[in-house]
Each structure stands twice: as structure tokens, then as C-alpha cells.
């Protein structure tokens, strides 16, 4: 749960949305600032904050907060 809150915080910082408005369904479809450039920023920020290396496939698959959470859980194992 703590990791999820941290993830929400990163998404909120990078995509300029209120942390309370972020949930598992948050995605480029419902967050205005989530464009391709912000997506890269988000991936970079996640790598640093969680100290993980993500693969190109991870980067392309991270299409919602739920998917990010799943991929992150895998990498953090």
C-alpha cells in the first residue's frame, strides 16, 4: 500500500494532477497532461524513485496506473 501511495505521488508530481484524483484507472485517456513526453518523464521518475530498471517493453506497456503498479511489483520482486 505504501508503494502504491508513493506511485500516486510520483504520478501526481509529474502529471500535475491532484493525488486524490488518481486511481488505478488513471491513464492517458483521462489525464490531460499524460502525453508521450510526460510518459517518458514518468518512467524516468519511477525508475529513480523506486530504484528499478525498466525495459523498453515495460515502458510501452505502462498504459495506466494499474498496469504501472503491476509491472512495478514484478520488477521490485
Amino acid at each position: 500500500m505504501r508503494a502504491f501511495n508513493k506511485l500516486k505521488q510520483v504520478v501526481s508530481d509529474i502529471l500535475e494532477v491532484d493525488i486524490d484524483d488518481i486511481n488505478e484507472n488513471s491513464s492517458p485517456d483521462n489525464i490531460e497532461k499524460w502525453d508521450s513526453l510526460s510518459h517518458i518523464k514518468l518512467v524516468m521518475a519511477i525508475e529513480v524513485e523506486f530504484n528499478v530498471k525498466l525495459t523498453p517493453d515495460d515502458m510501452m506497456d505502462m498504459l495506466s496506473v494499474k498496469l504501472i503498479k503491476m509491472i512495478l511489483a514484478e520488477r521490485l520482486e
Partner: protein, 593 residues
């Protein structure tokens, strides 16, 4: 740094993003600055780092990132977004691998003729880009130079091709640098130097580069933002003038008064070599024009013995522009140094290993920059550089010999004490004043003087090289003055800008002398020359302006003393009756050059 940044941790990309959002409300505490970025990659990714790092330096930046690879389109078209954004600084970062992908990864494919042709193309292209920028905007230009990073071959074993490639890129960078030096207010920064700091493996991320054409990692972007902010700050602000140093445990190990000549640590071997190494760093600053001074609690004779007799002590008495070695407190001594060198306390940096002394000076003289000296002596030099107080982006010959000039001045001051009558003293100096109009050789020095002269400066108007060039283009008169006397040359140390205002009227917009030549009636000679020049232009009126500042009190009555009449009190405008004949000063020879 503003209160906002106190105790705030800004280390990760997310920290930067968050900080960027939170800066806006405190923007009134920062000076606005417009940055335009031209690059061969998606430089927008740098936005938060540039903005946050500039905010730390006191600027609120408005960043414009041109679409990537649109150099010519943005630069050659006067109506482009770049110019519409009215930039204060334009950053140009064209990566060589974006122009010639083979060059970095497949260098072996090229023969000599092809390489020469590429060099030619790159330099010509940048000549056009930079010259067009220079002609169309007053902005300072910062060019990031080229690098040959191929993450795959870094650290691989000896390869002739790799060395040839590195050499080739260095040669192009050399050409780029000399191109920048020829243009005014155009500076080059070294990309590889940033990469070295972070390390190549940390700087490049294959995924970012191959998926998004972004040439650096988050850590690289943070570093890049820091360097750009430091560079912009250094362009917009003059470096500090004087470094005041302590002696014991700063310039040598141990205490000379207790340990004696043979006991102090300064030698070719550890631990003495650590101090010797630091002395080299200090000398490097001195040789770039930083005035060195000493504030030390010691017996003068003990300290002087080290400078005169110790063969490993690289710093000599003559390297210091001022020495206060006594038992007075250091704040008092620093004030004495400032007075002696005729500089403000706000242009002094203090370096002392003793935290108590540092605290004392900070408390008593808040204008002085006190360096937070680490306990580890091996880090002294790095700390000095990291302070960024002495970044010289331009270097003139005058800067390099500043200490000698100050010392000659002190000899003159001693002569003055012995001399009874001021005019006979001045006569004995055998002064020759040379006055010339600005040209490409002198314009940088002229701009530099307008930016750093405070005391004898009638209007304290600060101009960039580009602005000065504009004046010349418009037909204004830009004069520089240099002085030679029996002790040596002063180099260019006076500037006057006389602007045309209306048909036949002229106004002295800028009139300044460097403080080391004031009090010798040189100012009167300079003004007389201006009057002569103006008369020869068939002028009907000559005005002079005085704008008071915190520091130029000395010049308050300058125009009054020289027979000008106050014509507009509110704007400090004085008028000179061109029919008058000014008082001749016969002990100064004048050369028009």
C-alpha cells in the same frame, strides 16, 4: 537563494517536477528571464531542471523550446517564435550524432577528404546560425559543443579509430570555440565535461535514446540543468574580484608561529603536497585576474619568512594584492583590504579553515561571501571551484595582469605620500592617455567595464557587447581610454558613450573610469577630449547625465566641477556651453588612437 528553497530537498525528477509547480506563487521574489532553446532533440524534457535551477539562482524563467531540428527555420526568419519570445538567452545544442549518425558509431567508414568536408559543413552551418542570431537578437548565446559519445565503445580496449574520432571532434570544437569568441556575448560550454562529472554509463540510457531520442538520463538532465543555470548566472553577473585567504592550515599545514619553517606542511610529498596542490589552484585563479589577499592572525615576520624562504611555497608576496597579517580580528582586516584595493565588500570571497573565523566574518560582514570550507584539505580546491564565484566566461589580457597593476598603483600611492603638491606629483608620473574609438578588439572590454565599474560611473548603465555594437552602428560615439605612466600600463580603464539625441545634440550617456586611475585628473582630460570631438561634429548642444547610485557618490559634482549647468534636475541632465574653453591639463599627454 530565496526562503522558498530553504531545507527543501530537490534531488529526483519527481522532486523537480513538484518544485516547478510550487515556484509560481513566489515568482515575485525572482527576476524574470526568457530562455530559448534550439536543439536537435526533444529538449523540452529539460524544462523543469532549467527552471528550478535558475530559480535557485534568483530567476523565474520562461522557457521556449523550439521544435527539434528547426535551427535555420527559427534563426533566419525574423518573425519566428524564437524572436517573438524575446529571449534573454538563446541556448544552441546541436548534437553531432543527430546531424551525422555514422560519425559517432561508424567513424571508420570515412576517408580524410570526407571528414574535411564534414568539418567544413558543420562550421559553416554554425557560422550562419550563430551570426544570424547575433544580428537579430540582443540575447546572450550559449552554444553546447560536440561530443563523441558512443556508449557501446566506451572503455573498450585500445582502438586507433576511437582516438582519431575523439581527436576529430575536438578539432571541430576548437573551431566552434573560436567562432564563439569572434562573436560578442556568445559562449561555448563543454558537453563532455558534464558527462565526465556524472560518468558516461550514468549519462546515457539506451532506452531513452533509442525510443525517444533523448540523449541523457534523469541524472544527466539534472546536471545539465545545473550547468546551464550556473552559466546563465555567470553571464548575467560579474565574477567576484578578490579572494581573501587565511594562512595556517589553509595555505600550508600546521601553524607557522608554533611549528616553525621546518614544521609546517608544504612539500612535494604527502601531506605537504595537498597544500601545495591547493596553492596551484589558488594561483590559477590569480592568473585569471582574481585579486588575492591574506587575512591571517600571525606575526608578520613569521609569515613573510615562508613566502620568502620556503622553496615549496609556490605563492609569493608578489602574488598578493593586499596582506593583513596581524592580530586584529578578521572582519576589520577584510575591511582594510577592501579599502586598500578600492573594491566593495560585496566583491570579496573569504576562505578560512577555521569555522569560528568564518562565523565571525559572516556575522560582521554579511556582504562578504564566506566559503563553507570542508575539513578534508584534499577538497579545498574542489570547494573553491564548486562555489562558482570565479567563473570567467571571457578573458582579456588586462584581467590576467590585474595584480601587477594594483601593485603599481600602491607604489604610486606611496609616491603620493612623499609628494607635496598634487600637480607636481601628477607631473612626475609622466602620464600618457590614449583615447580611441571602439572596435572589435576592444568592445568586450568596454562592455565588461560598463558592467563592473561602480564608483566612478556617472550613470551606472550596464551594457552587453551586443548593445555596444548596436550603438556604434547607430552612429553613437563609443570611446575607450587607456593610461600609461612611469610605473607601467593600465590597459583600457575608461569608457565614454556619447549618444546622438536629435539633429545636432549629443548626450554623454556613459562616462566611467576604473577606480585604479581616478584622482589623477584623467577624467578632466577625457571630458575635454569628448568636448573637442563633439565640437568637430558641428554639434549645437552637449548634455551630460548623472544618475546617483549607492556607490557613485564620488561623481556627484563631476559636471558641476567641469562647468556644466544643471538643465533638468529630475533626470540629472547637465548642459555644457560649447562656446566655453575648457581648462587645459598640460601634465598629461594625449594620444588619439
Amino acid at each position: 537563494m530565496i526562503e522558498f528553497f530553504k531545507d527543501r530537498v530537490i534531488e529526483t525528477p519527481a522532486n523537480y517536477a513538484k518544485t516547478l509547480l510550487e515556484i509560481s506563487p513566489v515568482k515575485s521574489q525572482l527576476s524574470p528571464i526568457n530562455i530559448a532553446f534550439l536543439s536537435s532533440y526533444t529538449s523540452e524534457i529539460l524544462n523543469q531542471y532549467i527552471s528550478v535551477e535558475l530559480a535557485k539562482k534568483g530567476y523565474f524563467s520562461n522557457n521556449y523550446f523550439a521544435p527539434f531540428n528547426q535551427f535555420e527555420q527559427e534563426v533566419l526568419n525574423q518573425g519566428s517564435d524564437l524572436y517573438n519570445k524575446n529571449p534573454d538567452v538563446v541556448i544552441v545544442h546541436n548534437m553531432i550524432e543527430d546531424m551525422y549518425p555514422d560519425l559517432v558509431v561508424n567513424f571508420a567508414k570515412y576517408n580524410k577528404t570526407e571528414l574535411e568536408s564534414i568539418t567544413q559543413q558543420i562550421t559553416e552551418r554554425h557560422k550562419t546560425i550563430l551570426k544570424s542570431l547575433r544580428e537579430r537578437t540582443k540575447a546572450d548565446i550559449v552554444v553546447v559543443n560536440f561530443s563523441a559519445i558512443n556508449i557501446d565503445d566506451v572503455g573498450s580496449v585500445y582502438s586507433v579509430i576511437k582516438q582519431q574520432k575523439n581527436q576529430y571532434i575536438q578539432d571541430i570544437n576548437q573551431k566552434l570555440l573560436s567562432l564563439c569568441n569572434k562573436l560578442s556575448s556568445c559562449y561555448s560550454i563543454d558537453y563532455m565535461d558534464m558527462v565526465y562529472k556524472v560518468g558516461v554509463q550514468e549519462w546515457v540510457d539506451r532506452k531513452l535514446y533509442l525510443m525517444a531520442r533523448i540523449p541523457f538520463t534523469g541524472q544527466g538532465q539534472i546536471e545539465f540543468g545545473k550547468i546551464l543555470a550556473e552559466t546563465i548566472y555567470s553571464i548575467k553577473n560579474q565574477p567576484y574580484k578578490c579572494l581573501v585567504l587565511d594562512l595556517d592550515n589553509t595555505l600550508w599545514g600546521g601553524v607557522i608561529g608554533e611549528d616553525g619553517m621546518s614544521g609546517i606542511q608544504i612539500s612535494e610529498y604527502y601531506p605537504g603536497n595537498v597544500f601545495k596542490h591547493f596553492q596551484r589552484t589558488v594561483l590559477n585563479l590569480r592568473n585569471q585576474g582574481v585579486l588575492l589577499a591574506i587575512a591571517s592572525k600571525n606575526n608578520l615576520n613569521d609569515a613573510m619568512e615562508v613566502f620568502q624562504e620556503h622553496s615549496d611555497c609556490l605563492l609569493k608576496e608578489s602574488d598578493f594584492a593586499a596582506m593583513e597579517i596581524n592580530w586584529d580580528d578578521k572582519a576589520t582586516n577584510i575591511q582594510k583590504i577592501a579599502k586598500k584595493l578600492n573594491i566593495g565588500l560585496d566583491s570579496i570571497v573569504f576562505f578560512d579553515d577555521n569555522p569560528v573565523e568564518r562565523q565571525w566574518v559572516s556575522d560582521k560582514l554579511p556582504q562578504v561571501k564566506v566559503i563553507d570550507v570542508p575539513e578534508d584539505v584534499m577538497l579545498y580546491g574542489k570547494t573553491l571551484y564548486d562555489s562558482n564565484y570565479f567563473n570567467f566566461l571571457t578573458m582579456t589580457e588586462e584581467d590576467k595582469s590585474k595584480t601587477e597593476m594594483i601593485q603599481q598603483n600602491q607604489q604610486r600611492a606611496e609616491l603620493s605620500e612623499n609628494s607635496k603638491d598634487i600637480d607636481s606629483f601628477l607631473t612626475s608620473l609622466n602620464m600618457v592617455v590614449s583615447i580611441g574609438t571602439s572596435d572589435s578588439m576592444t568592445v568586450d572590454r568596454i562592455a565588461q567595464l560598463t558592467n563592473k565599474t561602480n564608483q566612478f560611473n556617472l550613470t551606472t548603465k550596464r551594457y552587453s557587447t551586443a548593445e555596444i555594437n548596436k550603438f556604434i552602428e547607430l552612429g553613437d560615439i563609443v570611446l575607450h581610454l587607456s593610461v600609461e605612466d612611469c610605473y607601467g600600463e593600465h590597459g583600457i580603464s575608461g569608457v565614454a558613450i556619447v549618444k546622438k539625441s536629435g539633429e545636432c545634440d549629443w548626450i554623454i550617456d556613459t562616462f566611467l573610469l576604473s577606480c585604479r586611475i581616478i584622482g589623477k585628473k584623467i577624467e578632466s582630460v577625457f571630458l575635454n577630449e569628448i568636448i573637442d570631438i563633439i565640437k568637430s561634429k558641428k554639434a549645437s548642444k552637449l548634455y551630460g547625465q548623472y544618475i546617483g547610485s549607492k556607490k557613485n557618490h564620488l561623481t556627484k559634482d563631476f559636471y558641476k566641477k567641469h562647468d556644466f549647468d544643471l538643465s533638468d534636475k529630475e533626470n540629472g541632465i547637465w548642459e555644457y556651453d560649447l562656446q566655453k574653453i575648457s581648462e587645459a591639463i598640460d601634465f598629461i599627454k594625449i594620444k588619439r588612437i
